[in-house]
């Protein structure tokens, strides 16, 4: 299990490639990246992500442990940025490795759903008009009920 929380940009292709290369004993690797999405019509200058140092790392490790308990995984990775980032930059990624694809896909979706609502990150959108905290959606919290 690998957990990384960092302000620096990362190269999703290189990270996913290294994860797949190191996935000994796996027959399937699934990876997902979240990208800073511009507003409809443009105008997003940057996204700022605040987090709770200490709790963040614990929450991510707990999610990865739960995923490993529930599915047959050989490895999992969560990388999440904080600080300022521009539209088009990668915010975060998850990757899972398993003997078979069903476990890798399910665990990756589980990690994504939990990251949305249970990891202490808060997004703020900065535009020329000002700054707005991104509101959590009920759909995000509802998504947890399927697990």
């Amino acid at each position: 299990m690998r957990i990384r929380v960092q302000p620096e940009p990362f190269d999703y292709g290189a990270e996913a490639g290294a994860f797949a290369h190191g996935a000994q004993g796996a027959g399937a690797v699934v990876s997902f990246a979240g990208i800073v999405r511009d507003r409809p019509g443009g105008g997003l200058m940057r996204l700022e992500i605040e987090h709770y140092p200490g709790m963040t790392e614990k929450a991510l490790a707990a999610m990865a442990d739960t995923a490993r308990d529930r599915w047959n995984l050989t490895d999992a990775m969560i990388l999440h940025r904080h600080g300022a980032m521009a539209p088009g930059e990668a915010i975060m990624m998850v990757a899972t490795a398993a003997p078979h694809r069903a476990d890798a896909f399910a665990a990756a979706e589980f990690l994504m759903d939990y990251l949305k609502s249970c990891a202490p990150f808060w997004k703020k959108e900065i535009t020329a008009e000002g700054a707005d905290w991104v509101a959590a959606t009920e759909a995000d919290e509802d998504a947890l009920s399927r697990w």
């Binding site: 709770y52 614990k58 975060m92 949305k116 249970c118 990891a119 202490p120 959590a136």
Partner: protein, 83 residues
Amino acid sequence: MKLTILYFAWLRERIGQPRETLETGATTVADLVEELRAREERYALAFSDLRAVRVALDQELADFDAPLDGVREVAFFPPMTGG
């Protein structure tokens, strides 16, 4: 009991500081929120709708009726928006 209280995102902005220490006799999170609300208008505003507030005790998510016995760090924040 001495508590460190942390605020994040718009709660931090409304209250105007990221952390403080507080000597309190509050026995539950709800009691603590009532004590904070009564202090100043900025706290009353920040805690006006608890449906929009989440709490963590010593870095674990908790409920508002959770006891504060043995707790050292309380964090208040809006629903999380990771991913």
